[in-house]
Assembly symmetry: C2
Homo-oligomer: 330 residues x 2
């Protein structure tokens, strides 16, 4: 195995977030599942956008947020995802490139516009996401750059990739390329509703293709259809090299064949918007992993990155995570 | 004179802000005039966007920010400005409509895209603005809805309207319509460089067409080419019904033929981004004016609105200004 030129390559749905404040009554009146990621079509996107308040547009997308986090931590990363050649696609490309992530997937020049996610943030800092997939449906195996995958220590993918029709083929192609090159493959389960949609495929994937799995408590319980956290830990243990289960303010648990380690959450002065918490936890963990840290430290860096992103509006870091980690870990 | 259906109609350049953090070295390396609004062409916009960091997109535009402020204060307002029928134009239209401002100017369907302003915010909270006027150059007298102007107590316009070629005609048409209907006309000087470009026209406008003038200390000194603040007060006094001179943390001074009143600034817990300070001061003042408050209270409401907008990133209110004013003024 040659020295890896990149730490992580992320593959995901390339999305621009449209973030607005809302109250619980608005969610109820508009039939929005609180805390979930719901897929919406064009008509629903227009209807919901017409009803929601003034927004802020920021580049998002789960794996893209993770890659932005890795760059902010000082890591070397690349991203694969599909935008359209429109204004929001230009914004997405600018933002991820400007933070230092390689992004060379060609934009589509016909079909649906760049994807957007209408995110309603309630006063309790919870986010409810409504995703119009747009150009993401064009992502396919032809977008997987073999040399890029082979050059990265870890290929990281989001479970949300199972929603567009051909992205899961891209996902499997990338996993096979990575393994053939002696690299690691990592997956985030993304969302418990997403796990509900693809439970059998995800369980099979974890057994056969995933080395490092990320999921929150609800997602892993849903994956193995168990009711309590300890049962989820027992169910996932041994199915992949490392499983990292996140539990919000209860911290995280790192599960390997040999050990189960619990790592506390970082203190947060003010919880503003939980969008991106899981994405940034994964960024911190993978940055630790690709720079040779022990697993407890990986989880600690994940917690530091997650704590930063939930202290402000938006799903990407607002401060240098490298400096933050230096200050916290010394 | 009939009862006014609207408090204020604002006319301005309809712009989407692209806000990024930068340091003074970046401004120097890229030849950006700190604290100013500089007009840029397509090539410069692409060059600068390519160099700046990840951004946040938010609807902006000076008079549009003022109208958003008036709506947030509970006032009734409308806006006239020109976007293109593109994604950023849709964002602009959504945001100003969603906060409760009537915006019915048709979008252009050919020519330049919706305007954007690349705003670099330095660690001292100062903003440096680089404006690509785009579709704003299409605004002309045909966009002035006579019935709308006649229905508003105050027609408010930004000095920046003198930059696109035909907007000043729209400006003069609106002023004449307002006066013929017995309404008031208000102008903000916008920026001292803008005053430098149109000094004679602005001075003539103030003498002949403006009832309520807004300008900061630097702008009014530039308008009358005087060196100190007292000379600026003396120079503007009597040239229009009310002149409001803002002085950042030193508060504001309201100048009428009969009196000169100084009103202190509101305390700001954390200064984050000064973008929109002048726009929101004007919103607060005009809201007070159109709801029958005395001039000192108008300036106090202006100070409260300005203090809110400089405490966070972005040029539009992040909290209900109506609630804030109730809490402060009782």
């Amino acid at each position: 195995m040659t020295q890896a030129a990149l730490d992580v390559v992320g593959i995901g749905n390339a999305i621009v977030d449209v973030i607005a404040k809302a109250d619980d009554a608005f969610l109820a009146a508009n039939g929005i599942e609180k805390g979930a990621m719901t897929l919406i079509d064009t008509a629903r996107a227009e209807e919901l956008y017409g009803r929601m308040g003034p927004g802020i547009e920021m580049s998002g997308g789960s794996a893209a947020n993770t890659m932005a986090g890795i760059a902010s931590l000082g890591g070397k990363g690349a991203y694969i995802g599909k935008v359209r050649d429109d204004q929001l696609g230009t914004v997405f490309r600018h933002d991820i490139s400007a933070i230092g992530v390689r992004f060379e997937t060609p934009a589509s020049n016909s079909g649906a516009p760049t994807a957007r996610c209408l995110i309603l943030v309630t006063p309790d800092a919870q986010r409810s996401m409504n995703t119009y997939l747009g150009a993401c449906v064009e992502l396919g195996p032809e977008d997987i750059d073999a040399a890029l995958i082979q050059s990265a220590q870890v290929t990281y993918m989001e479970g949300y990739l199972f929603d567009p029709p051909r992205a899961k083929e891209a996902f499997r192609k990338a996993a096979d390329l990575a393994h053939a090159a002696g690299r690691k493959v990592s997956l985030t389960l993304s969302d418990s509703f997403c796990v509900g949609r693809y439970r059998d495929e995800f369980a099979d994937l974890v057994d056969r293709r995933i080395d490092i799995l990320f999921g929150n408590e609800h997602e892993v319980k849903s994956l193995y259809q168990v009711d309590d956290f300890d049962a989820a830990v027992a169910a996932v243990r041994g199915r992949c090299e490392i499983a990292v289960l996140t539990r919000s303010e209860k911290g995280s648990v790192v599960v390997t064949r040999d050990a189960v380690q619990a790592i506390p959450a970082e203190p947060v002065s003010k919880l503003v918007d939980t969008t991106g918490a899981g994405d940034l936890f994964a960024a911190g963990f993978l940055h630790g992993y690709t720079t040779g840290r022990d697993l407890a430290t990986c989880a600690r860096i994940g917690a530091i990155a997650a704590a930063e992103v939930i202290s402000h509006i938006g799903a990407r870091p607002d401060a240098s995570l490298a400096e933050l980690v230096r200050a916290r870990l010394g």
